[in-house]
């Protein structure tokens, strides 16, 4: 381990960044995060299907093979069950792997390694063995890839102690959080989104700038209703906030960014101001992130609630293939507006 390198995320407080930024796509922001961390720490390496020669199925690893060579950017066979276990073992042995899944739908092949090996070994070894590993890749519905390739996994992984679950929306957060995930001493599930890869935003150029895991972010101030979202659903939440403004309803929009550990303090502080909460997520309603937020609101802010918490979720069905049905199965801004109006008793 290089001298003077911090062993883990040094500081959980997110500081204001006043340094230089550059406009990048989320795809580039993720690549830059990996490249910076690989330069910084020789133990970091990337493995997965098509990550090397093909530069990534979604071109997220563009240029990494050229810079770091085939020893640190490794194409794997098409066997998630195999390389997920391989990566987890490498983490136990002291390396810091980044395992890319072409999509998280395929990670179900390797989920035993993720839950039973990566997530639980620190506990089961009495703290002697840790798994500093990042599992990353696109999550959720892209467009018309049907039930088996459109699943949203945040609730699955957030259920498990021993895992951290991150799902960024902006380019800056994608970069800062992936760097934090790579530096973290525990396994991190890093949920990306195929549609977001092409979105652009300003991201810090300072290689020491990270975004701490476990911090939500208020991205729009408001007084009447709190809307929480994460990943692609932030676009839906913000579009709804714009529509609500036309109706004279000032929505506060929170990007959860990290699903586990959930930043309940930020949500509750907002809820105490607005008294109303709408949770937006792409995943299914049952035992989803919205269900967890309902529990948080009830347990920590009961006396501040002026209305039941509203959930806007994906439809409780396997994702339809037909484009019209797929659209209906996914939350949209109109549904968020309806939910917000309902909790505001605005008819």
């Amino acid at each position: 381990m290089p001298a003077g390198l911090p062993a883990s995320v040094p500081d959980n407080a997110e500081t204001e960044y006043a340094g230089e930024t550059t406009e990048v796509t989320v795809r580039e922001a993720l690549r830059d995060a990996m490249a910076e961390e690989m330069r910084r720490d020789a133990r970091v390496f990337l493995m997965g299907e098509e990550v090397a020669e093909y530069q990534g199925a979604y071109k997220v690893s563009q240029g990494l093979l050229d810079e770091f060579g085939a020893k640190r950017v490794i194409d794997t066979p098409i066997t998630e069950h195999g390389f997920t276990g391989l990566g987890t073992g490498a983490a136990f042995a002291g390396l810091r792997p980044i395992v890319e899944f072409m999509t998280f739908n395929f990670a179900m092949q390797g989920i035993d390694h993720i839950i039973n090996s990566a997530a639980k070994t620190r506990y089961m070894s009495g703290g002697q063995v840790s798994a500093p590993i990042v599992f990353r890749g696109p999550n959720g519905a892209a467009a018309r890839v049907a039930a088996q390739h459109s699943q949203e996994y945040s609730s699955w992984y957030a259920h498990c102690p021993g895992l951290k679950v991150v799902a960024p929306w902006s380019a800056a957060d994608a970069k800062g959080l992936l760097k934090a995930a790579i530096r973290d001493d525990d396994p991190v599930i890093f949920l990306e989104n195929e549609i977001l890869y092409g979105r652009t935003g300003e991201a810090p150029t300072d290689p020491d700038r990270i975004v701490p895991i476990g911090k939500a972010k208020v991205v729009r101030d408001g007084t009447d209703v709190t809307i929480t979202g994460f990943s692609l659903m932030m676009e839906t939440a913000l579009a709804a906030a714009e529509m609500l403004e036309q109706d004279g309803i000032a929505a506060e929009v929170i990007d959860l960014r990290t699903i586990r550990p959930l930043d309940t303090a930020t949500v509750v502080a907002s809820l105490k101001k607005t008294n109303r909460l709408v949770s937006v997520e792409e995943g299914w309603p049952f035992a989803g992130i919205g269900a967890e937020l309902c529990a948080v609101a009830m347990e920590q802010a009961f006396d501040d609630l002026d209305a039941p918490v509203a959930r806007v979720c994906g439809a409780d069905v396997p994702m339809p293939y037909a484009a019209n049905l797929e659209k209906l199965a996914l939350p949209d801004a109109e549904r968020v507006v309806q939910a917000a109006r309902a909790v505001c008793y605005a008819g």
């Binding site: 006396d303 002026d306 199965a329 008793y345 008819g347």
Partner: protein, 459 residues
């Protein structure tokens, strides 16, 4: 799967009832058509027939239980080959109250009694339970979970009811010392929400303290006037369903309907003579009373002045197509109005026989809802008690009710000559929204014409 026997809705307006008596015991076999229980509704006692075959596995609701919600599970039937182990655990009601009303009830009401357009009570609001308990989680989230539509601002809650208020509203009210009972909620189902508290604070709503003080009670709300606790010599009779309905419906009618009272004296000697002759001629096949003849006369008068056979609705005055006369029948502990349908088309002997049978069952509480719900006009007679003159309260949605007094011998003047006649005073109470004074008077004239010249009823 054991079959749930549910509380049937015996009338369109029934929301809950009393499970009066079980006619089958646990372990007994039932076949479709068996009477298994007696349910006391708003106004009558009804028998529940079994629809399914099986063994009565468990009685969930013991007899004598009041306020059993429609569609609540009252018992479990075991199907062939099942034993008690198949029953849900004790305490688990397996309640099907959430099931859509369209689902075939396990125990169909013996008498569904649909009332197309003349139900005496407004259709009930959709049950809040059935809305929220519907499996919303399965379908709703994609389309925004809390689909509750905000309700119209409600009246302040009635004392004793649980007050629906958001947790925040509760805390704000407590901190400000506001009495939630005095605040009207503007949220769904009358829920008191933040804005209602803010509104109350800005307009200076009564505080809990002020309310607790023996402040002068507004005269407009006598029903909520506090009553001192019963003394040692007093006896309290718990309200029956009938008593509650009488209190509510007549209270509403007297409060909300502008009513006028028109009294007319009529001589009934000819009517009495006709009745005597008629009863002799009938030779026991029927016994016609003055009241039966008054019913017939009222029915014919309604044909002659059809504008009185009417109802007030929000958008129109509805003229009724048939002449159905409700007749007030008193019984131990209450009052009910069985109906003589198409009374204008029936002879007095038939009316007499029908009334005898209806009144008999009314006194036993055995009328079916269809036999007392509806009707276009009511006749109430206290003549047999010697009451000379009284007024009634209209029985909504009907627009008029006739109070018939006793026939009493009086000195009357005809053409300057004093003579003795049997005089009966009748008072028509009219819903003035539907019936103006002159119209009511016209009807009374017609009625008096039939009573004083009973042969004209044959015309």
């Amino acid at each position: 799967m054991p079959i749930a026997v549910t509380m049937p809705a015996l009338s369109p307006t029934m929301e809950e009832g009393t499970l009066a008596r079980w006619l089958k015991q646990e372990g007994e076999t039932v076949v479709p058509g068996d009477l298994i229980a007696e349910i006391e509704t708003d106004k009558a006692t009804m028998e529940v027939e079994a629809v399914d075959e099986g063994v009565l596995g468990r009685i969930v609701v013991p007899e004598g239980t009041e306020g059993v919600k429609v569609n609540a599970t009252i018992a479990w039937l075991l199907e062939e080959g099942e034993d008690a182990g198949a029953l849900p655990a004790e305490g688990e009601t397996g309640d099907v109250a959430a099931a859509a009303p369209a689902a075939e009830p396990e125990t169909a009401p013996a008498e569904p009694a649909p009332e197309p357009d003349s139900a005496p009570e407004p259709a009930p609001m959709p049950e809040p339970e059935s809305q929220s308990a519907a499996p919303a989680t399965e379908t709703a989230p994609a389309e925004t979970a809390p689909a509750e539509a905000p309700a119209a601002p409600a009246e302040p809650a009635v004392e004793g009811e649980r007050i629906a208020a958001s947790p925040l509203a509760r805390r704000m009210a407590k901190q400000a010392g506001l009495d939630l009972a005095a605040i009207a909620g503007s949220g769904p189902h009358g829920r008191i929400v933040k804005r209602d508290i803010e509104q109350a604070l800005s307009t200076g709503a009564p505080t809990a303290e002020a309310r607790a003080a023996p402040a002068p009670v507004p005269a407009a709300a006598p029903s909520t006037r506090p009553v001192a606790a019963a003394g040692p010599e007093d006896t309290e009779i718990p309200h029956s369903n009938v008593r509650k309905v009488i209190a509510r419906r007549l209270g509403e009618a007297d409060r909300d309907i502008p009513q006028i009272y028109l009294s007319v004296d009529m001589e009934i000697d000819r009517l009495l003579a006709a009745r005597k002759e008629l009863n002799e001629a009938l030779e026991g096949r029927a016994k016609v009373s003055v009241n039966d003849m008054a019913i017939k006369a009222a029915a014919l008068a309604l044909r002659q002045v059809p504008a009185v056979n009417a109802q007030w609705t929000d958008t129109a005055i509805r003229l009724l197509g048939t002449v159905d006369i409700s007749v007030a029948v008193a019984y131990e502990g209450g009052l009910i109005t069985p109906i003589v349908f198409d009374a204008d088309c029936k002879g007095v002997a038939q009316i007499a026989n029908e009334m005898k049978e209806l009144a008999g069952r009314a006194r036993e509480g055995k009328l079916k809802p269809a036999e007392y719900q509806g009707g276009g006009f009511t006749v109430s007679n206290l003549g047999m008690y010697g009451v000379g003159h009284f007024t009634s309260i209209v029985n909504p949605p009907q627009a008029a009710i006739l109070a018939v007094g006793a026939g009493v011998q009086k000195a009357v003047v005809h053409d300057g000559e004093i003579s003795v006649a049997t005089v009966m005073t009748c008072t028509l109470t009219c819903d003035h929204r539907v019936i103006d004074g002159a119209l009511g008077a016209q009807w009374l004239q017609a009625f008096k014409g039939f009573v004083e010249r009973p042969l004209s009823m044959l015309a």
